[in-house]
């Protein structure tokens, strides 16, 4: 069994506690966005763990891909579906909460003892040799020679991800709905349509927000100056008041 140095033990207790705190915060946070941010703490600490266990490449990949990209995807999805779904604390099944706690602790104990018994007395074989020229170089010499096929197939996985995202999020336009430049120009100069540029949002308004419509010369708001995806906002009395910048 490999000896564990004092420094590694100290690091384990600090990072491990932080990771568990992050995981608990993720489960207990009422707001889904806070939950995702707690998960960042856990993922970041796992990254540090990898670095300490002499796998710096894996550690930085964990930080770049998981705490960076995957977490961004989580937050995007949260914003896509909206955060207004409030959780209910009513038990659907009687005794559900106690059963969940007991089973959860039991499952954690099972996994923990299983891992401890399986990995407690193992030796690392060939780790020093693999890392002889540095961790990243050792990884590269394997990845780009012995496992080159798996590496190339990864790109197929990425294509699958793109196709899946297209199927989920892309609304295909029918061919006849795609208007060419001639029809768009005819539409633009047809009587009844104002052919000039759209007014910018916030012009002559009391606020610079893009959600505030521009003012027309008669003082009314120009509805076409706001993007339809923005939530329309009614300014409160205090916000609409003069800001003291007028001379």
């Amino acid at each position: 069994m490999n000896a564990v140095s004092t420094g590694e033990q100290v690091a384990f207790w600090i990072l491990g506690s932080l990771a568990v705190i992050g995981a608990l915060g993720m489960v207990l946070a009422r707001n889904a966005v806070h939950s995702a941010l707690w998960l960042v703490v856990t993922m970041l600490n796992l990254g540090f763990f990898y670095v300490i266990n002499s796998a710096p490449f894996l550690g930085f990949v964990q930080i770049i891909v998981y705490t960076g990209a995957i977490m961004m995807l989580f937050l995007f999805v949260l914003m896509l579906v909206g955060r207004d779904a409030s959780d209910s604390l009513i038990e659907t099944l009687r005794g559900q909460r106690i059963a969940a706690i007991v089973l959860g602790i039991g499952f954690a104990a099972l996994i923990g003892t299983g891992l401890a018994r399986a990995l407690g007395s193992t030796f690392t074989v060939g780790l020093d040799k693999a890392n002889a020229n540095g961790n990243v170089e050792g990884l590269a010499s394997l990845l780009f020679t012995k496992y080159v096929f798996a590496f190339e197939v990864t790109s197929a996985l990425l294509i699958t991800a793109a196709v899946g995202a297209m199927i989920l999020a892309h609304v295909e336009k029918a061919k006849e709905d795609k208007r060419d430049q001639v029809t768009r120009m005819k539409e633009r100069f047809r009587p009844g349509n104002y052919p000039g540029p759209k007014p910018g949002p916030g012009i002559y308004a009391n606020t610079m927000s893009v959600a505030a419509p521009a003012r027309l010369p008669d003082g009314n708001g120009a509805e076409r100056s706001i993007s339809p995806i923005l939530p329309v906002r009614e300014l409160s009395q205090a916000e609409a008041a003069p800001k003291g910048t007028e001379k």
Binding site: A69, M79, V136, E137, L139, E152, A162, E239
Partner: protein, 121 residues
């Protein structure tokens, strides 16, 4: 004398933290304070931060594609790091296989592009 490669990283971390703390704590002391509510507004961009719509509002689902494309190119970059570090060792074979990999990933990009996934209307 060889220096541990993590010393510069930790040093940069400490430097960044010190700079942030310094800027945030010193600015209110030395900066002039002339109150004007217009300064608190979004300037020519952005949405008024408050009051927020119920549920925080929703984003158009189009952004999901942007996020997924970002992840795809992020993972491509991850593979480029070890490749770049050991480029001399891998030689022409490594170059060809990386070109093949990048070309295949760009098929995903070309697919999204040609199907109109990047058009915004």
């Amino acid at each position: 004398m060889t220096i541990n490669p993590y010393v510069p990283i930790v040093g940069l971390l400490i430097l960044g933290a010190l700079f942030a703390l310094f800027s945030v704590s010193v600015a209110p002391i030395v900066g002039p304070k002339r109150f004007n509510r217009a300064k608190l507004d979004a300037y020519e961009c952005g949405i008024e931060p408050a009051p927020t719509p119920i549920g925080g509002g929703r984003f158009p689902v189009k952004f999901y594609l942007t996020a997924m494309l970002f992840i795809i190119f992020d993972i491509e970059t991850i593979f480029l790091y070890p490749w770049a570090v050991s480029f001399d060792m891998l030689g022409l074979f490594g170059f060809v296989e990386m070109v093949l990999f990048i070309l295949t990933v760009f098929i995903a990009y070309a697919y999204v592009w040609r199907r109109g996934g990047l058009n915004w209307d």
